[in-house]
């Protein structure tokens, strides 16, 4: 596989200026039209937390949130995302590094082993719980149905989804009892 940059030079491809808001920060890049969003994030913006597995939309490792909605970044062209709000796994933790409820759930439930698929799970589950804060085990399975993990056997990931929902509810409970 050639490095990005090499073959563009050979063909003198037109490069497009794009602006993305990634994890709340406006980023600019100059990309050829064929640059996948996954490669733009990793190579142009240096955000290597988004992992690239199958590169044809099957494995889910590259899932990011576009305006809060999970999508496969390997099935999006960076140029087409100009002006969009993107959240990657790097944007999930708090500003002081505090783990998000989903990340904390994965830690507590041993929801990862090698960790390659984890960024895609974390983004997918973060959006899923925002929509359905109290999933049943069945719904938790449905939620992660489009993401492949070859280590865990999924049991601990399902447990992590349920634990993350629990942590989120506790945090909301704490906040409302303080107010």
């Amino acid at each position: 596989m050639s490095q990005p940059g090499q073959d563009e030079a050979a063909h003198a491809e037109v490069r497009h200026q794009i602006a993305l808001t990634v994890n709340g920060i406006e980023r600019r890049a100059e990309v050829p039209a064929r640059r996948l969003l996954s490669d733009c994030l990793r190579h142009d913006l240096g955000l290597t937390g988004t992992h690239v597995g199958c590169e044809h939309g099957v494995c889910g490792a590259c899932t990011v949130l576009v305006d809060g909605v999970p999508m496969r970044s390997c099935l999006l062209l960076a140029v087409s995302m100009d002006g969009e709000q993107i959240t990657t796994v790097e944007g999930l933790a708090g500003p002081d590094g505090e783990l998000s409820p989903v990340q904390q759930g994965f830690v507590e439930c041993h929801g990862l082993q090698c960790g390659f698929c984890t960024p895609g799970f974390l983004t997918t589950i973060t959006a899923g719980l925002a929509e359905n804060p109290d999933p049943t085990p069945e719904q938790a399975r449905e939620l992660i149905g489009g993401n492949l993990c070859r280590c865990t056997g999924y049991q601990n990931i399902v447990a992590a989804v349920l634990r993350a929902a629990e942590i989120t509810r506790q945090q909301h409970g704490d906040r409302s009892s303080q107010s």
Partner: protein, 297 residues
């Protein structure tokens, strides 16, 4: 696994898109959701000279439902159609079929009209459109034309959309009175392409007897196959033994074998799934009759 180089245009209006497609003709490929196009590009199975990205044509993101049809614009994502209450009310078959298209993450970006134009023989929506006798409206610099579903799918991965044209809307006819529909498919894994799938539509008469029944199949032929099952089960009560329809379904399909299933297994599935879907659709039709009678009374 990187796309080949291509030129790129992102029109801001339908007129601009039509102009670009007229200018570049067969060299241009339309990018909507891209959930099928991007893998084809990345695997280098196709190499269009130019992509015309219609994702800024917000005017085509509509879903309009009425007693005649559910009309879906070219930029309506599967998820939006799936969640649309009007679409669900007027043609519930749509939501049932959409729910088994790939995974939610794919449905969040993929478009329903794009799925029709892609014309994959294993896709759900082409079979639904053909079963319902819907249509697709295509626009070009020369004007618009509406293509009936039966003429829209011309071969595997081939539709009637010509160079210079853009499919702008699909019309899924609404569920008629005293009717029920159902969608059933079997895939190797949840979210995979179906080994065989069927959408059925059953209409009852005033005595809850089947007046018409037909089925649309996916993954058993190169284009969606619609079979009229009325001759096998017409006149029977909605809750009667409908196995004659399953036998007719098995006779009517002529599937190809591939690595996922033999032809015989696909034929067997066509029969079994037809029976299941018919039973569900007939019961829904009877429920609908009861509901309508309740409203009238």
């Amino acid at each position: 696994m990187k796309p080949p180089a291509f030129d790129y245009s992102r029109p801001e209006s339908l007129d601009e898109a039509s102009g670009l497609l007229a200018e570049y003709g067969p060299d241009a490929k339309v990018l909507a959701g891209g959930q099928s196009l991007l893998p084809l590009l990345s695997m280098r199975l196709i190499a269009p000279a130019r992509l015309v990205d219609i994702n800024r044509l917000a005017e085509l993101a509509y879903i309009r439902s009425g007693p005649d049809a559910v009309r879906v614009g070219a930029l309506a994502r599967h998820t939006a159609v799936l969640r649309d209450s009007g679409a669900r009310e007027h043609q519930p078959l749509l939501a049932e079929a959409l729910a088994v298209i790939a995974h939610p993450t794919i449905r969040n970006r993929g478009t329903s009209v794009g799925s029709l134009v892609h014309a994959d023989p294993a896709a759900e929506l082409p079979a639904v459109l053909c079963l319902l006798g819907g249509s697709v409206t295509v626009a070009s610099a020369a004007g618009q034309r509406t293509v009936p579903a039966g003429e829209f799918f011309t071969g595997p991965l081939e539709s009637a959309v010509q160079p210079g044209e853009l499919a702008i809307e699909a019309a899924f006819p609404a569920l008629p009175a005293r009717a029920g529909a159902a969608f059933v498919e079997v895939s190797r894994r949840h979210g995979d392409y179906a080994v065989c799938g069927v959408a059925v539509l059953v209409q009852l008469d005033a005595d809850l007897r089947i007046s018409a029944a037909r089925a649309g199949y996916l993954s058993v032929s190169s284009t969606p196959l619609v079979v009229d099952l009325t001759e096998a089960i017409g006149g029977r009560p909605f809750d009667a033994d409908l196995s004659a329809a399953a036998a007719l379904a098995r006779q009517s399909v002529d599937p190809e074998p591939d690595i996922h299933a033999s032809a015989d297994y696909r034929r067997q599935l066509a029969g079994v799934l037809t029976g299941r879907a018919l039973a569900t659709a007939a019961r829904r039709a009877a429920d609908e009759v009861a509901r309508a009678a309740g409203v009238a009374a």
